[in-house]
Symmetry: C2
Amino acid sequence: MDKMTDDKRDTEQAIKEAAKKVFLVNGLKGARMQAIADEAGINRAMLHYYFRTKDKLFEVIFADAMQEMNQRMGAIATSDLPILKKIEHFVYGYMESASSNPEFDLFIINEFQQNPDYFTEMMKTSNAGTAMKAFVHEIEKAVKKKEIVGDPHQIFLSMISLCVFPFAAKTMVRTMLGHSEKQYTKLLDERKKFLVQFVVKGISP
Amino acid sequence: MDKMTDDKRDTEQAIKEAAKKVFLVNGLKGARMQAIADEAGINRAMLHYYFRTKDKLFEVIFADAMQEMNQRMGAIATSDLPILKKIEHFVYGYMESASSNPEFDLFIINEFQQNPDYFTEMMKTSNAGTAMKAFVHEIEKAVKKKEIVGDPHQIFLSMISLCVFPFAAKTMVRTMLGHSEKQYTKLLDERKKFLVQFVVKGISP
DNA sequence: GTCTATACTCGGATAGAC
DNA sequence: GTCTATCCGAGTATAGAC
């Protein structure tokens, strides 16, 4: 009995991990149930046994992914450090989180694009939304106090762009720059430091 | 005879325009031949008559798209203005071009991701590659002359990120900021001016 | 719970009449 | 050149034996 339960949990967990991998790389439509089954070391029928349909399986994985996004954006919410420290904290937090899951950014962008309504709703309830709004508000306050300059939305959008794009468009950029996987990883690693300086200078009065 | 030829050209052209629309939004795999046929006001069989297969049709459209990318990047290559003017020129050129074709950026990123080898080859032959390399080189020279500071690749990547991301992740960012289509368009329009100031400050010595 | 066999659906491609 | 009918492969989902 215990054994059965454990087996079940293990299989379920194995499927989830496999599904995450495959969905992140290929998206909902692009993912193949066979690929997920292979990755999990089981056969297709099992997937249906545990999760009924592809869509249902995706929803589970996707909820996890949103959870991760919340955490990333949570890098924002912390404490009441001065704005420049907060920015530094966000850049490092996001970039490090993204490094351990490079496919994630493009995945989210795409799924957002294909199902805007679903996400609009999701955004309201999730704490990613509130964390971000809070951060934008911090920027607004700092601008009012003349600690930094520029339109708050533009500043926020710029930070997101600078952090996310290099991961989302990884293959394209790598090809453009003619970098190897290793070189690009190095570039991304060094980028944290560069970005903090770059952004801080860009918005200083 | 003339009439037939004209009809043929017209149909072919109609298909190309329809295909471009559908492929840009849905990508190669996501696009449906039926959707293209509907958009062009003909039936599916015609698509095959004119372009044989979906892949062949895509290649034609894609070549056009790369052509467009070349032009965008061509905004770089121009003349020997001082580096800061060149940057300004690039930002305005790219953003305006992207505004008239907002789906393009995400499309390219995705197809790149899914077929890296194909593009790596494409990059070598196309002049988009050379135009970019030239621009990176300009940045390198300017850094050496101490006109600007920072790692040239980081600077280049930052410019691309700042310009491309707001279009590529349009829906996601809009949702995050809670903007309407109109508000977001305004944000993008104002962004050109913001970016030039932001970047110039960020890399000034 | 796990497997094999099979049903069903969708979408790209072809044949053949006009 | 254009249309209708049809084929065929791929991929999801289910039935049923073990």
